[in-house]
């Protein structure tokens, strides 16, 4: 096969070439229509191709090759210690660039593997994209898998998996299977995902919908958030409404709207819900606040509960020295030693030693040693242990008033 050679610093005009092309450092190639190389094109150092180019394969070393038009490579594009800049469209089977790749038009390949920086001004379509450093794209990204070691700045995405070491910022779109980010993830527009795991911070600036969410440090959603299981190590915030199965938050969790769970809520610190909170079971280490909260099974509160309209569960346990403001409504309501509550409604209400309540309405009421209530209304039995007091005379009635919630 013949080889056309462009000498170092040479300025030539080339068109259709049957065979290979070898270009030495600092060459300047004018293009006659299109530079079409039937074989391999090899560049040793910087070079400038002033037009469209097509070749069998493309390899460059130690420099930057700029193609001021489209670049179509039938097989592989490879650079060693070099970079490639394509002003127009790029098409190749496989792209492997050590230092960097910049594309002005749409980019298409089965695989992009870039060591340093990958930048695209339009769309990029691939099976796999792997970038060691930074990846920035101004158009839509469509791929099976995307990996980057450093940071990723994208617009709309349609991916199966996304795995990034540092920071991910994207406009929105869908990642059907998994998102795994070491540092920070943020999305600006509506975003759908299979599952997402973020070591540091996850930020959804618009509505987001998906499966499991795990954030080591912080998770914020400015709009509505729909999920399966949500696990946050530190701080969680939902600016709209939240809907999911289970929630586990180590620190503090705030929801501006309502939070509707089909499973369990566990919060180590405190949770604040602006509107209604629903679920099956709840365990709160610190404080729970909501307009109203309804759980179909058990509720264990270690610190405090504060609602405007009430807190309801089949069984409510308020821990030692804990506080409740707003009515508590349960099948069974247990207020532990030295805890303080307002109105209590239940089938059975039991106040521990030195616990205090304002009003108690129940079929069966037990006040522990030194416990006190302002008012007790009951239908079946009232048991007062030593030192227990009811400030107004206890009332035994045939029917209790209608419970809240």
């Amino acid at each position: 096969m013949t080889e056309t050679r462009v000498p170092r610093g040479g300025k030539v005009r080339l068109g259709v070439l049957d065979g290979d092309l070898r270009v030495e450092r600092d060459a300047d190639i004018e293009v006659d229509g299109k530079l079409a190389v039937s074989g391999r094109a090899r560049f040793d150092g910087d070079a400038d191709v002033r037009g469209n180019m097509e070749c069998g394969s493309f390899r460059s070393e130690d420099g930057t090759v700029r193609v001021r038009g489209d670049l179509f490579v039938h097989e592989d594009l490879e650079t060693r210690d070099g970079a490639v800049e394509v002003d127009g469209e790029l098409k190749a089977r496989r792209v492997d660039a050590d230092r960097g790749l910049t594309v002005g038009g749409p980019a298409t390949a089965d695989q992009f593997e870039v060591g340093g920086r990958l930048e695209g001004a339009q769309t990029l379509t691939a099976q796999k994209v792997s970038v060691g450093g930074k990846f920035r794209l101004a158009g839509k990204l469509k791929a099976e898998s995307v990996e980057a070691g450093g940071s990723v700045d994208l617009k709309e995405v349609e991916l199966e998996t996304l795995e990034v070491g540092g920071v991910v910022h994207l406009a929105g779109g869908v990642v059907r299977r998994s998102v795994e980010v070491g540092g920070t993830f943020s999305s600006d527009a509506p975003f759908e995902f299979g599952e997402i795991e973020v070591g540091g911070i996850a930020q959804f600036h618009a509505a987001a919908k998906g499966g499991n969410i795990e954030a080591g440090g912080m998770m914020t959603a400015d709009g509505d958030l729909t999920f399966d299981d949500l696990e946050v190590g530190g701080l969680g915030t939902i600016g709209g409404n939240g809907q999911g199965r289970n929630v586990e938050v180590g620190g503090k969790f705030s929801v501006r709207g309502s939070l509707d769970l089909s499973g369990k809520l566990e919060v180590g610190g405190q949770i604040s819900v602006g509107e209604a909170l629903t679920g099956t079971t709840v365990e709160i280490g610190g404080k729970i606040e909501a307009r109203r909260a309804v759980f179909t099974s058990t509720a264990e509160i270690g610190g405090a509960v504060a609602t405007r309209e009430g807190f309801k569960a089949a069984r409510i346990t308020l821990g030692r020295k804990s506080r409740a403001s707003g009515p508590l409504v349960g099948g069974a309501v247990e207020i532990d030693t030295k805890a303080q509550a307002e109105d209590l409604y239940g089938d059975t209400v039991e106040l521990g030693d030195k616990a205090e309540a304002r009003r108690v309405f129940a079929r069966r009421v037990i006040l522990g040693e030194g416990a006190s209530a302002d008012q007790v209304v009951y239908t079946d039995t009232l048991e007062l242990k030593s030192g227990a007091t009811v400030r107004s005379a206890p009332q035994k009635v045939a029917t209790l008033p209608t419970f809240p919630l």
Binding site: G116, G149, G150, G165, G200, G216
Partner: protein, 109 residues
């Protein structure tokens, strides 16, 4: 990540640089060469060699010959470092949030 007043970029510390190197190595699944890590981490090769040597000594990286040249990969300890590092960075961000008086009064389990 912020440190101090809002909008002030957090100064990169040595641990950040080690984490950056490890994250780049991780993307190559056992085939990370020094030049590729250099481009990915944005660090000159001579400086990077010191970081890599330290990470090897600490057992966070391992090296194997690939086509006659060393290639690097993350060890389970290296992955453990990254998991811990990012989690801690997340917590630090939480601490940087404005303090809430209610938060201080809440009791933790």
């Amino acid at each position: 990540m912020q440190n101090g007043s809002p909008g002030t970029p957090r100064r990169r510390e040595v641990s950040d640089l080690y984490a950056t190197v490890l994250e780049v190595v991780k993307r190559y699944h056992g085939a990370a060469r020094i030049t590729r890590i250099s481009y990915g981490a944005g660090m000159p090769v001579d400086r990077l060699r010191n970081f890599v040597d330290r990470l090897l000594a600490l057992g966070l990286l391992k090296s194997e010959e690939l086509d006659g040249r060393p290639a690097y990969d993350l060890t389970p300890r290296g992955q453990e470092f990254l998991d811990t590092y990012w989690k801690m960075r997340g917590y630090i961000e939480v601490f940087d949030q404005p303090a809430d008086p209610d938060e201080r009064s809440s009791r933790r389990r």
